[in-house]
Symmetry: C2
């Protein structure tokens, strides 16, 4: 066959593979939103079967042969072209996935689907014990998964690499080691200042007002409702089923305004990314983010860098007052702005402020590595969690629901995922510095409620490319350097020097 035919056949297989992945994504979305509880067991089988079939399709000898046959073509193509990148990314994934037996993939899908409802219940009842055998099974399966990639520098490397192509455990540890003392120092400096009063955020905010205001804001960000929707779920998330169907979720706390709003803003960043991917990449593995940290850079940028900025609220606070006049009528903009940026060590990661957030991640990284290495047993995890919380943040969760059970990730088998949140913060700050350099008027625009050039810049520089570039390569291309903690520390220091008059 000639290379045209090979390429067409190659794409057909990848199209089908992507269709299956997108269909599985819908099954997972449904599991978190509308599935009746009685459907859990069969849903697990459905997801396992679809994972197995998708895996077998992607790792079939035919794909291996096509990759071989396409090498000459690949060498002729512009290395940045869609086709060259599709071949390159597929080759990387093929080499990785081929090392994993389909049965292990299906076992992981079934185990995590089963674990999901157990985790939900355990969290509801704040009872870790029922969850132990499920988490043990998941850790064991994830360890088996990592073992497929021997030799490695670190057993955690193959897990991290699933979310951050080519990044190593050591890279992350190096970044975190540089970051930790600086963040701890900043938090200490803040803790010496007067506490900020945010009691007015804890009044009763009716759910419909919260929902409507969030929708109004992210519509202005550019979220396209023709190609997306928002629902409720216990743990907010974004799921793409292709560029035409990108769904976000949020959750409401009636007595704490920031929870739903910043969730919605956060997920809208993910959503804009998924909606912004070039349609030409549809139904291929390139219709995806570059990595989770790049994805998170978008969500954290819209949530924090933009959504917790004084410029943003200068425009939107008057509008928020129309929704909640009795709760906020007597609260000046500056007071509101300080309150939503209050720094205070707390137990829940997703509610953490920007200064303490990364410490929640470092704690999880430490525990995950110990679990996968076998240094820590699942049954000892709650004690280890609470002790690490004391160590990193100087507090202890009231119970396991507020502690070790708070996140969905482990029940979903996502080991290696957490570090990408902290990296996302760093990348967001790097992009923000570059964006301001490119367009010094961006903050004035935000102050006027104009987000078009912001979202267009993100779309052109990031969204559009999908998964064509690996994360370090993409950040390098845009900013001129790899993932770097310094812009984030500059961003934090500037912001909190202002707010806390450090």
């Amino acid at each position: 066959m000639n290379s045209e035919t090979n390429l067409a056949r190659f794409k057909t297989i990848l199209n089908e593979y992507t269709d299956l992945k997108n269909a599985s994504a819908l099954l997972r979305w449904d599991q978190e939103t509308y599935m009746p509880p009685g459907g859990a067991s069969e849903r697990g089988y459905q997801l396992a079967t679809m994972s197995r079939i998708a895996h077998l399709k992607f790792t079939s000898p035919e794909v291996g042969q096509l990759l071989e046959d396409l090498r000459p073509l690949s060498n002729e193509l512009d290395p940045d072209s869609d086709d060259a990148r599709l071949i390159k990314v597929t080759e990387r994934l093929y080499k990785k996935k081929s090392k994993v037996p389909a049965s292990l993939i299906a076992d992981i899908a079934k185990a995590t689907s089963d674990a999901h409802l157990v985790w939900e219940k355990a969290r509801e009842e704040s009872n870790f014990n029922g969850f132990i055998p499920h988490l043990e099974k998941i850790i064991e399966l994830r360890r088996q998964y990592a073992h497929c990639f021997k030799p490695y520098d670190h057993v955690y490397d193959p897990l991290l690499d699933d979310y951050e192509p080519s990044l190593k455990t050591l890279d992350v540890q190096t970044i975190f080691n540089s970051l930790k003392p600086q963040q701890v120092e900043l938090i200490r400096a803040i803790s010496r200042r007067d506490q900020i009063d945010d009691s007015f955020l804890h009044l009763n905010y009716d759910q419909k007002g919260q929902w409507d205001f969030g929708v109004e804001v992210i519509t202005r960000f550019g979220f396209d409702w023709h190609r997306g929707r928002q629902d409720e779920s216990i743990h907010p998330f974004t799921q793409s089923h292709g560029v035409g169907d990108v769904r976000i979720t949020t959750r409401f706390l009636q007595d704490y305004f920031p929870s739903a709003f910043f969730s919605t803003a956060h997920e809208s960043g993910h959503g804009l990314y998924a909606q912004g991917i070039d349609r030409k990449l549809s139904r291929t593995p390139l219709d995806n983010g570059a990595s989770l940290s790049i994805h998170e850079s978008q969500s954290r940028l819209y949530e924090n860098v933009v959504g917790r900025s004084l410029e943003f609220w200068t425009h939107f606070y008057p509008r928020l007052l129309e929704y909640f006049p009795s709760q906020l009528g007597n609260v000046p903009l500056e007071t509101f702005y300080r309150a939503i940026n209050k720094v205070e060590p707390s137990t829940i990661r997703v509610e953490a402020d920007e200064a303490t957030y990364n410490l929640h991640i470092m704690l999880r990284l430490e525990l995950e590595i110990a679990l996968i290495e076998g240094q820590l047993q699942v049954k000892d995890l709650p004690a280890a969690w609470n002790s690490a919380m004391q160590d990193y943040l100087g507090i202890t969760p009231a119970n396991d629901a507020q502690g070790v059970l708070q996140d969905i990730h482990w029940s979903s088998g996502y080991i290696g995922y957490f570090p990408t949140y902290a990296l996302g913060n760093l990348v967001a700050a790097q992009l923000w510095e570059k964006l301001i350099a490119d367009n010094p008027k961006i903050q004035d625009q935000i102050q006027r409620g104009e987000f078009e050039s912001l979202t267009t810049w993100m779309k052109d520089n990031i969204h559009h490319h999908g998964a064509k570039f690996e994360p370090q390569e993409l950040v390098q291309r845009i900013t001129g350097s790899k993932i770097d903690p310094d812009p984030y520390m500059r961003y934090l220091t500037n912001k909190y020097t202002d707010i806390y008059e450090l």
Copy 2:
């Protein structure tokens, strides 16, 4: 391999096949309920890919070989046992499906998924023209599908057989030919009586009250919310994703009470069937109804035979009055009962009364056969529809939305499906006669709002067996005769003789 191993392998393949079918069902459910419009095109590809893979899995040479190898075992087993029936039903499906190329299956899935939104829009705008090329394509693909089964007595046979295993076009025509003059005669007799006033059904009934009352009733029928849910969609339907996850939908007319309530009651009959299938049949092709007419017998029984009976409302009318005191406070039970059973030729099938309903079906059967035979062109369909409406019911739809565009079926590629609705009415009446013979107190129980023995009888006689028996065999086993129009005519005649004092 021994037959144990063969059977286990056989079941594994069927489990995976069923997982894919259940997953596809979820994609279709989502398409009708929550999918943003931008997702339509990719959803089409996803459904096409999944259909193709499921089809290839089911028709693989391995399944053919296993069926051969299992023949000796099958001959030893009790012919009514689950395993014997699983082999028998699979063999039938295998023989049928093997004749169809996977590409045609995928083409049908894609064409119908694409046609779906077009139909929705065409119906909304009452504009048939935009829908023409899509329906032409579907008719052509369905004709190609039928041609895979040459030789046949009638080109419509293979289509009908998909929904009613082993039933022939001639069987249906024979039944309809016996029924039509009797129903027409009954309608004529009714038309000579005074019109019933049902204006109070057309007042403003708030949606929440409608929803809550419907939920209350079907909960009493036995619908299990732990294993099911209800949502809204344009065209009400029931979708099972396994016995633990059975979903129904309804739709609301603010100014016509019966619409949502009888939809909900109708779909709950389907839902009870799907929830009542023996768990041992899960993840196999037997986790399904015996046929669509048997399914419809359940929905029509709960909707009409029970839900429009005087006994039912004797119990529930006082409760309905609590929901809608201002609308119904001055309406006596008898008046309400007559109103919800008012006979009047009308254009919309799903709103049709029991006396005229089957005529809507006969009309569709006639047109479908003409389309598939090529005697009728799609572009001429609206005119043919309107002329047939005059012929059968003496009325003409105000527009195509009220006429040829009213049903979702053709846009979904469901040709051969409509007759099952009328057959379902007949089977419902047959089952009802037998149930009363078995349990003469059933009507007293219904009058007391007790549905347990009703639903248990249906479960034991029908639901439990899933797809183990073909429809004619099942009806014969339960009632002692095949599908028969006489009990339905007796039921109609008794009912309307009372109501209209014929």
